[in-house]
């Protein structure tokens, strides 16, 4: 590979990061509700994309990066859920958890409801209402069937509906 080719590929990847960092970072924040963790996950996703940049760039690199990011976020949410089952060691741990709970979204009640959803249900809502993806695109991103996407959406919406009925959710 010549130096010019390398430079060209680098600038292409850098342009891609410039163009997509904002959207994907917001997606990551909505997925994990933690700004720092979101940045870490997005960085990991960009690293994986960079390793396969030639192949990925030929297709839809943003969709691929989003797919990597969403799956990283789901894994991380599962890991955090497992960690939460253990007894908390100290007051500092509790404070850290409380600080990590609200994202950059203002900490509204809807955030609490969304943050309490299971990882995949939350991911389905983010992909549908923030990324505006179709059911098929969501299924491709998560690696599940359309029927599973529908059931995740239905469960998440019924959980939200219960809160709305109870009058506990006010926008943000």
């Amino acid at each position: 590979m010549s130096t010019q080719e390398t430079r060209g590929a680098e600038s292409t990847f850098e342009e891609f990061v410039n163009a997509t960092a904002g959207r994907l970072l917001r997606t990551a924040v909505f997925l994990v509700y933690d700004r720092h963790l979101a940045e870490d996950l997005l960085q990991t996703a960009y690293e994986r994309v960079a390793r396969r940049w030639r192949r990925v760039a030929a297709g839809n690199p943003e969709a691929y990066t989003r797919k990597v990011l969403v799956n990283l976020a789901i894994d991380e949410n599962k890991r955090r859920a497992r960690r939460r089952e253990r007894p908390v060691g100290s007051v500092a741990d509790v404070e850290r958890l409380v600080q990590a709970a609200p994202p950059g979204a203002g900490g509204g009640e809807l955030d609490e409801v969304l943050g309490a959803l299971p990882a995949k249900q939350r991911a389905v809502l983010v992909l549908r209402y923030w990324c505006d993806l179709s059911e098929q695109e969501i299924a491709d991103t998560l690696g599940i069937s359309r029927g599973t996407v529908k059931s995740h959406t239905s469960r998440a919406m019924s959980a939200l509906r219960e809160r709305v009925k109870g009058g506990r959710v006010h926008g943000r």
Partner: protein, 177 residues
């Protein structure tokens, strides 16, 4: 109801996104991470390739070495546990015919073999005298040891069935006299 929820969610995400800023430092960090990870066109850098494949390659090499070493040690006739030489007879090895001077064939032509030529046959043990052959000495009546090679097959050590089973032969038994 669902339409309200849809609108609520869309509005919520849009409003929240406005408050999430991506600074140039973050963008630079992502770009640097991608470049270090192999953003030079997709080729995995040699260092990360080595880091990724070194442990399994090392494990495979160690396993192969152990297997080969065990095979060499345990393989019959190979390696350190070579099977011992087959046991040799205690007597000196037979010399080739050329190195030994030819023994004069001073075999007596007499039909009676030398008594010192061989050990007494099993017939002597059983006490059954020979009933045939020219070796019998009628004067002494003693059984004559057989000469190897020229005698009929020796009888077994089982008791002599006696003259009733061999009517045609007049074999005297030591007990019959």
């Amino acid at each position: 109801m669902d339409d309200d929820l849809d609108a609520l969610l869309r509005e919520h995400y849009r409003a929240a996104a406005d408050r999430i800023e991506v600074g140039p430092r973050s963008v630079r960090r992502f770009q640097d991470a991608g470049r270090e990870a192999g953003g030079d066109g997709g080729a995995m850098p040699l260092r990360s390739l080595a880091r990724r494949w070194a442990p399994p390659l090392l494990a495979a090499a160690v396993t192969a070495a152990v297997v080969v070493a065990v095979a060499l040690l345990l393989w019959p006739g190979q390696g350190g546990t070579r099977s011992p030489e087959p046991p040799r007879p205690l007597a000196p090895p037979e010399s080739p015919a050329a190195s030994v001077p030819p023994v004069p064939s001073a075999v007596p032509s007499s039909p009676t073999p030398s008594r010192t030529a061989g050990t007494p046959g099993p017939s002597d043990i059983s006490g059954t005298p020979r009933s045939q052959g020219p070796t019998r000495s009628g004067a002494t009546g003693r059984p004559t040891p057989t000469a190897t090679g020229s005698s009929p097959p020796p009888p077994t050590s089982s008791p002599d069935p006696g003259p009733t089973q061999r009517p045609g032969r007049s074999t005297p038994t030591p007990y019959g006299r």
